[in-house]
Symmetry: C2
Subunit: 183 residues, 2 copies
């Protein structure tokens, strides 16, 4: 016990709230700093696993995670504009543009000039792009499926609840838009 908690907004395990809430006692024990830290480290290690399989596939080609993200969201939203993709991915347009350029050059994505607004570019996956997208998301889904199966449906519901509460508000609406779209 060498660290002194100079900025202790949270609670230590020993001094945690133990309210007699509707959960039947110890209702707030899950909010101790220790519990939060475990959650943080779980996020860290799990995200590594989450990206590991697609990363291996991408490494075969000259691609990285940025390509995966672009291909994923173009696949989800065929005809999306560069600007929309930009706000989803949260990078600069120059950074996205480099990725799009290679994807277009390699024939995985097509860029069509917008019909109503000719400044815009509508992005679509080609057949080859769809094939790559499938391969990547299959790999990622396989792991996700195994995790879901191991944890069970109730755990999955909780998993999604916490993740949704963890998002930034500006990103949350992108997630919601994505959520209920027919494929």
């Amino acid at each position: 016990m060498s660290t002194t908690l100079t900025y202790c907004y949270g609670k230590r395990e020993e001094e945690a709230d133990v309210a007699e809430g509707p959960e039947g006692g110890q209702a707030l024990l899950f909010l101790t700093d220790d519990q939060l830290r475990k959650g943080i480290e779980a996020m860290f290690f799990a995200y590594r696993g989450f990206t590991a399989d697609p990363d291996r596939i991408l490494a075969e080609m000259a691609y990285g995670r940025a390509h995966h993200r672009a291909v994923h969201f173009i696949g989800r939203r065929p005809g999306t504009t560069v600007n929309n993709l930009l706000s989803i991915l949260g990078v600069t347009k120059q950074s996205l543009n480099r990725v799009l350029r290679t994807l277009i050059k390699d024939g995985l994505v097509t860029s069509e000039i917008g019909r109503s607004d000719k400044r815009e570019r509508n992005l679509y996956l080609t057949d080859a792009g769809r094939a790559l997208e499938q391969r990547l998301s299959d790999a990622q889904r396989d792991r996700m499926r195994a995790a879901y199966r191991a944890a069970g449906p109730e755990a999955v519901a909780g998993f999604r609840q916490v993740l949704e509460a963890m998002m930034d508000e500006d990103l949350h609406h992108h997630y919601r838009e994505m959520k209920d779209v027919k494929v």
Copy 2:
């Protein structure tokens, strides 16, 4: 419905298993490709939120996420060796070394020659290093706490279950080791 599911290992919603399991029907509905995709996108957006607050702090200094990770795990395991840190973080020693060099130069981390094995270097946070670590994890904990509170204790349990099932086996043991350490 333009995409053809060439590599469909999973299930479409319409054709999903609906087993009469112990959950009272529709037990496997949470394993549809659509549910899995939502989980994948939730992970993506949530991780952005997860790192957003520390990233802002790190940007003030000349630091990045790599510094955060190093400081975090050195703080969790005072006296840890370079090799151990390496296997936790999953990067090359050249990459870690660049980060450690700046942290040591800036007086946030000290490196002591190992007592039993003089080849090893034991890493510790200085007072300044602990202060930064506190600042970063406070920011991250605040968001995690808000998410936990919003989702409730049962959701948190499910959250952790799914994340743990999502980890690579080799990383899982690092998570477990971290888990039950007294601070």
